[in-house]
Symmetry: C2
Subunit: 207 residues, 2 copies
Amino acid sequence: MIKVLLIDDHPIVMEGLKNLLSRQEDFSVAGCCATGAEGLKAITTLNPDVVLLDINLPDIKGIDICRQVRKHNTDVCIIALSVHNERPVIKNVLSSGANGYVLKNSVGEEIITAINAALKGNTYLCRAARDIMSQIQEGELTEMPRITRREKEIMALISKGLTTAQVAEQLFISPHTVESHRKNLIEKFDVSTMTAVIKLATQYGLI
Amino acid sequence: MIKVLLIDDHPIVMEGLKNLLSRQEDFSVAGCCATGAEGLKAITTLNPDVVLLDINLPDIKGIDICRQVRKHNTDVCIIALSVHNERPVIKNVLSSGANGYVLKNSVGEEIITAINAALKGNTYLCRAARDIMSQIQEGELTEMPRITRREKEIMALISKGLTTAQVAEQLFISPHTVESHRKNLIEKFDVSTMTAVIKLATQYGLI
DNA sequence: TTAAAAATGGCTGATTTCAGGGATATCGTA
DNA sequence: TACGATATCCCTGAAATCAGCCATTTTTAA
């Protein structure tokens, strides 16, 4: 009997997942968590074989949860559930230690397939995610860059409509510094304007 | 027996909703649709008493579906399901003809409550949505403005990192016109820079 | 059908951003 | 401890944005 832990903050989705798994012979629901913190605790205490992990939880970022788990536990299979169909997000989640990626608009069977694949040591992507990943991106342009704490702070303020000078004032730093961060962000996201940075960052849930 | 039509593009959520309703004595699932177009058709053919409508469908905007329905049909109760907890979005959905608003991270009972309230002629908001709406907003600042097709087009291009001149070239219009739209957008969103516009528009799912 | 809203085009000038070069200090970790 | 990543600071000039106005035509709604 394969023990599955469910982590999702939407009770209705949880309902659907439980239902889905209950129809399978060899799966049992080991536990249900609505937050990342609960989830992390449950993984150590319940020691499940598989975790179905919603990537967008209220408290902890899905990527961080994967990283946390992988620090100590390399056995558990993590299947990421998400609404995000952006290529960089998928890539990031997978490289953070997930064994599968299933979009929430997939049919239930894909989740089962993903679990079985992961248990066999394979990485399964749902059809839609596979399609996205297999698209040849012109020069691998849009990777999700690693963004520092300070940079996030600055993006948040800029996105609210503050100018460089206003951001500088708010953070008690020189406008030149804000300019530098701005430049770095534009470079990291590989775009040419700050508006493009803000759009991508918002899409990726960075701010 | 109250006939309920389900419209949601996530099979797992659908599963959960069906499960939830099946536990209720007096509700029956009249049909399930994964797209807005199917949904609109089903509403006329199946004539349900209640529609559980996911606001974020792949093809048609939830707000537009509500408007469409309300053109001809004033009887059917529409309960909006959504992940959006932004005040302007909620307000917009309700004023487009929805009889209730339930966030997807609500417990299933809230959906039942919302349906029953709507059938009695009341408008029900889930706890979290109610909290958001009752917050006294400083001067009712952040209403979701009505955005035209052209404006959306321009926002989309600007958000991709194009400059005013490039947008003008792409749309075969004068840069001055783009400037005008830009100005209107900044005014409509009541902010002072285009980056702020892009962030809000992305959040509200406008682009 | 009439009025309002949207889309188009225009001008000027002050302010801001962006690209391009730098440089130094701090912090955590290997 | 030494390295790498982060955060801080600085300059200049070209290019773009934003605020402030206005006007015409076409759609859409009342």
